[in-house]
């Protein structure tokens, strides 16, 4: 195990717009070791992207309140000065954005966009050396280096996402945040990109946080999983902890799995979770999931968050498994 590369402790983010508070992230705890991959799973509005932006230090400056701590390799990131943050961002922590169509600048050549990151973090490199590095990185993501003089619109969606990945890995980051990197892509291209990311991750030995809503990709790619709902991590553990159906699970996790159409067996009807994900400004009292939970009890409807049920690496935040009253 050893040192944890990333440690998030009791972290909260609240956005305030027009005097309405949105509780995007609520008291989350996460840790990630070197070379580990974590799948952060949840639906729209669960707080996945806010968590990632917090780690990157890219939250908007105004209208945001945060509390708690984020530690990265022995340094505290929360409250760090922008000047210091810049030395980490892009070099030691970098991010792959969801939409390759908008993440690139349309008026710069892709080679220049990759070179930008390298130049900023290695100011001593000569022009030629930067060029060599760009070629090398483009080869790593499977794009012929001759294409570096082209503009983003000349690439297909899958290729553009490879360039976004190239920019993210340009400085061999220790931690890579991938925010739904394949959602905008076709299945066959998605398979290519995931395979490439897997190989790169092995090669560079980076830690990866993969944000997704696709449990299929998580099963393929990750070592650890954290399931988010209403800004909280409702269940976390190793891949086996989460995907083993014989173990206890949070009702939301069960609902997520049941909502997926299964291609391996025939089912007549899907079993969706009833109701809708609450907006972060209107989170219910008690357990955030209780209005949609099929096993809701009286004590779920108010009061503090349920205690964590802990079994080795497996944590569930649900009254069903709280100690003493099964």
């Amino acid at each position: 195990m050893g040192e944890n590369l990333l440690e998030i402790k009791d972290y909260c983010v609240t956005y305030t717009v027009d005097k309405i508070n949105s509780y995007a992230v609520n008291h989350i705890n996460l840790s990630l070791g070197k070379g580990e991959t974590l799948g952060l799973v949840g639906e729209t509005g669960a707080g996945k992207t806010t968590t990632a932006l917090s780690i990157m230090g890219l939250l908007p400056k105004y209208g945001v309140k945060t509390s708690g701590e984020i530690w990265f390799d022995g340094q505290q990131l929360t409250g760090m000065k922008e000047k210091d943050y810049r030395k980490i961002r892009g070099k030691r922590i970098s991010m792959i954005f969801q939409d390759p169509m908008t993440a690139l600048n349309p008026v710069f050549r892709v080679g220049d966009q990759i070179a930008d990151v390298i130049k900023i973090h290695n100011p001593k490199l000569s022009h030629g050396e930067v060029g060599e590095k760009v070629d090398e990185i483009m080869k790593m993501v499977g794009i012929p280096p001759e294409r570096k003089v082209e503009y983003p619109h000349q690439f297909s969606g899958g290729m553009r996402q490879r360039i976004v990945i190239a920019i993210a890995i340009a400085c061999n980051p220790d931690l890579l945040l991938a925010d739904e990197p394949t959602t905008a892509l076709d299945v066959t291209i998605q398979a290519q990109v995931i395979k490439m990311m897997k190989n790169l991750q092995k090669e560079l030995n980076s830690s990866v946080i993969l944000i997704t809503h696709d449990l299929g990709i998580v099963a393929n790619f990750c070592d650890k999983v954290a399931i988010m709902y209403g800004g909280e991590i409702v269940e976390s553990g190793t891949l086996e902890d989460i995907f083993d159906k014989s173990l206890p699970h949070h009702p939301y996790t069960i609902g997520l799995f049941d909502s997926l159409p299964n291609i391996t067996e025939k089912t007549d009807r899907l079993k969706p979770i009833k109701g809708l994900t609450p907006h972060p400004s209107e989170l219910p009292d008690g357990c955030k999931f209780h209005p949609r939970c099929p096993q809701c009890m009286d004590k779920c409807k108010s009061g503090d968050n349920p205690e964590l049920y802990i079994d080795g690496t497996h944590c569930i935040q649900c009254h069903l498994y709280s100690k003493g009253d099964k």
Partner: protein
Amino acid sequence: MAEEKVLLEVKNLMKYFDTPRGMLHAVDDVTFKLERGKTLGVVGESGCGKSTLGRTILRLINSTGGQIFFDGEDITHVSDAKLLELRKQMQIIFQDPFSSLDPKMTVSQIIEEPLKIHKIYKDKKERDKRVIELMKIVGLDERYVNTYPHELDGGRRQRIGIARAIALSPKFIVCDEPVSALDVSIQAQILNLMMDLKDQHGFTYMFITHDLSVVKHISDEILVLYLGKMVEKTTSDRLFENPIHPYTKALLSAIPIPDISYKGKEAQVMKGEVTSPIDPPDCCRFAARCPLATDKCRKECPDFIEVEPNHFVACHYWDQQPKEEKA
């Protein structure tokens, strides 16, 4: 009679777009029959002509060649006046519930628009009654009747789109990726709703999607398209049991399965990307990415042949491929 059973028949349908760089073959020689009350899933990657096919069938865009028969009638070139009549019977649910609803109209205005255009009810009162009834059918709470689309989430918006499509009790609905913009838990709700509606009202669906697990769930038959060409067509069970075309196989193996017992099994990753649909060469269009391609594939266009009862494939080597090993 068999004639009666078939609701929609498409013969050699073609749609080419004239672009500055040449002819773009969006839909090329597509032929199929769809029986009443059945669901045809149309699968393929972006740019393979799925949506164009759906829109051409509905005559939202005019075809370049071929024929469309709806309810025994050739509708390929019917007049606009006749088309208006037809619209009562064929409708579409769009992919994106964010851009397919007019932001300046309230929910009730959106749902009642088709009723108004076709003058189904005499007065506003009756229309309003029908709107409320429709909202109930699709599971929208009555209190949303005067809200605007931007106030609602994706799942509810898609329900509005569905209510609008079924307002005229059509026979045939083209569903153009109706759930791909939604979250998984909402996606399951909408899929269940659509299947219930089909059972209750006897709709016939053409379900366009790129998500194979969804298509298996909802379809009776599946048509796989690649660059506008039909690649494989069979019943949904058969396609998943015994895919024959290399493209179908690659598509199936690319689906990430949410089960860790599959971990470690390297998915066959298909090389390359969809080639350009502009002036495609007269050969197998998949040849450039196919692991089995030979010179024959690069020269001749394979026919779409029936290799077993109700299982059609367009591949020169359908009988010589290694059998799919059973898991």
